[in-house]
Amino acid sequence: MIYREAGQFKSTYADDQAIFPIRQDRISLTIFGLLAFLGVPMVIDDYWANAVFIPLLVFTLAALGLNILIGYCGQLSLGTGAFMAVGAYATYKLMTAFPDLNFIIIVVLSGFVTAGVGVLFGLPSLRIKGFYLAVATLAAQFFLVWLFNKVGWFFNYNATGQINATRMEVFGVQITGPEATPTSRYLFCLLFTVVFALVAKNLVRGRIGRSWMAIRDMDIAAELIGIRPLHTKLLAFAVSSFYVGMAGSLYFSVWLGAAEVTEAFSINQSFYVLFMVIIGGLGTILGSFLGAAFMVLMPILLKNFMVGGIGVEVVTAKHVEIMVMGILIVTFLILEPHGLARLWQIMKEKLRLWPFPY
């Protein structure tokens, strides 16, 4: 009943190729968009921005990137943390070198820098596959973190080895630095996430996305029907790293404001994003949003429940949190290996018939 597309006729090719062909989708997305762009900024404060909304958006962007690589192109990568670090350090170098540049340009440029690095570490994917490739990307993870830790040029030779976000503006509105308002920071991240989610959505349903999926499903067969593996795989690495790099850039500059490479961009970060992609659903754009939401909100809820609700000590709560996360992940994989996006799909099927199932 609620989700019935009967009666929605398509009479033009443009209609047929619309990005959201079902009216209910368009309506709910518009409502979500209005809420995100108008509703949230009215009520947002520092806590909500730093603990919930900005992490959510940043990690959604990172999950989108990783989902393109793993979910669409089938190349397993464990180097997300390091690629985020590349984005962050590129941003740092750019923002200290060109303090007057529009910050949007800096973030996008950082994305391009990361894309270059991603292609470099994607090269082995032409020879190796599966878990072997995953270990190869671990090389990127450890090497890059070491590089940013050791080579002084990357953190401008400051004594702490940390990078700190300087004051940056977009059209006169301050985005980074301590005086930036939560609203402006939130909206900036939101803009990036929404725009690039739409770009990703369009990429994956076009020729490029289909060639990625062909490579994912069976690369030799894809090669035989005329898809160039070199081109396609490296493009996936480039696009994925571009997204992850921008996420890293926002992560460092807008969210944290300061970062230390061995802490902020460790291997755990890679796993964290990987979990989002898996829990959200491999090979779905919606899944990246849902997965990021799950992984960001779950620990907060757990912690609030344990420390605030039943008065467990903070240290014990931390251990229990790790354990419960593990249990949740395993349970999730057992119950629904295709992730939250698949759950939503099942729900849609049900809603189509509800309340008259026959």
Binding site: R127, V135, A139, I267, I278, G326, I334, P337
Partner: protein, 309 residues
């Protein structure tokens, strides 16, 4: 180049390699038998070492409960029991429900498992560094130091001998026993093994138990070397390049890969490290593996990859 110093580096590299190989062995066993890339192997080592520590040391909970610590041999036996119980639980609660899933899903499940074990370990045993002492001799070997001026840790010699014994036992187990044959059959072809009446579930419990025991050995060695602490679970990551070099499915590969990585790492750290600022041990193994993979994608001893459409 000083020959003595070089051989010292070489030998200590070989010994470190043995330690890596011990962890890698556990990976190979599980990967062979169930096709699961077991990320939790490192945490299993940690878990085993923690359990053993609690059984035999004077601030473990056995001591607090009964007023005496268990003798080492009983502690080890009990820990083996614990590892078998863990293996059984893992099979019951996790693997059984994930039959026929993509390898990546299984891989993620083992990461989840690693989190669970880590959390449980922390809650049960606490998270401080614990010096594990089960009577393995420490310090440099006096004989070699006096006669050949070589500095070699006794502990590492013990580790090397243990690894050799372990591999011999495993090889016999795989080649000669009934269960070993069943394990190899499962590794070869799941369906064919099922059709001749081998129970996959039993085999998985056995294989995870064996991997748990291997983890215990690795945990004892690493624990005696640097204390039982959380970083033990990170050596699992070090075992990955070892696996790549040796091939995921080969027991001798794990040993040889471990030795190569151990030696390469030490030599690189000492002779190339100062040139680029040190601490290259963290990533050298991975780079070595990466370069290696470009030339031989299936590893040294891995099965040849044949691809068909």
């Amino acid at each position: 180049m000083d020959l003595l110093f070089f051989s010292e580096t070489l030998i200590s590299g070989l010994m470190a390699g043995v330690m890596y190989a011990l962890v890698a062995l556990g990976f190979v066993l599980i990967f062979k038998a169930s096709g699961v890339f077991n990320f939790a192997q490192g945490v299993l080592c940690l878990f085993a070492a923690l359990a053993l520590y609690d059984f035999i040391s004077e601030d473990g909970w056995v001591y607090q409960l009964f007023g005496f610590a268990l003798p080492v041999w009983l502690g080890i036996l009990l820990t083996i029991g614990v590892m078998i119980a863990v293996a059984w639980l893992i099979e019951r609660l996790v693997l059984r429900h994930l039959v026929n899933q993509d390898p990546i899903i299984l891989f993620m499940a083992t990461i989840g498992l690693a989190y669970v074990l880590e959390g449980v370990g922390d809650i049960l045993f606490g998270s401080d560094v614990k010096p594990l002492d089960i009577g393995i001799p420490q310090g440099a070997s006096d004989y070699l130091l006096d006669h050949h001026n070589l500095y070699i840790e006794k502990l590492e010699v013990v580790a090397a001998v243990t690894a050799a014994v372990l591999v011999a036992v495993l090889a016999t187990f795989f080649q000669k026993t009934r269960i070993g044959r069943a394990l190899r059959a499962v590794a070869d072809d799941h369906q064919a093994a099922l059709s001749v009446g081998i129970s996959l579930n039993t085999i998985w419990v056995i294989v995870w138990s064996v991997a748990g025991i291997v983890a215990l050995v690795a945990g004892i060695m690493w624990g005696s070397k640097s204390g039982v602490q959380f970083s033990l679970s990170l050596i699992a990551l070090k075992a990955l390049p070892v696996l790549i070099l040796g091939g995921f499915t080969s027991v001798p590969g794990a040993i040889v890969g471990g030795l190569i990585i151990g030696v390469g790492e030490k030599v690189a750290e000492i002779y190339a490290g100062p040139l680029v600022g040190g601490a290259i041990e963290n990533w050298f193994a991975y780079m070595l593996a990466l370069v290696f993979l470009l030339f031989r994608p299936q590893g040294l001893f891995g099965e040849r990859i044949i691809e068909r459409v």
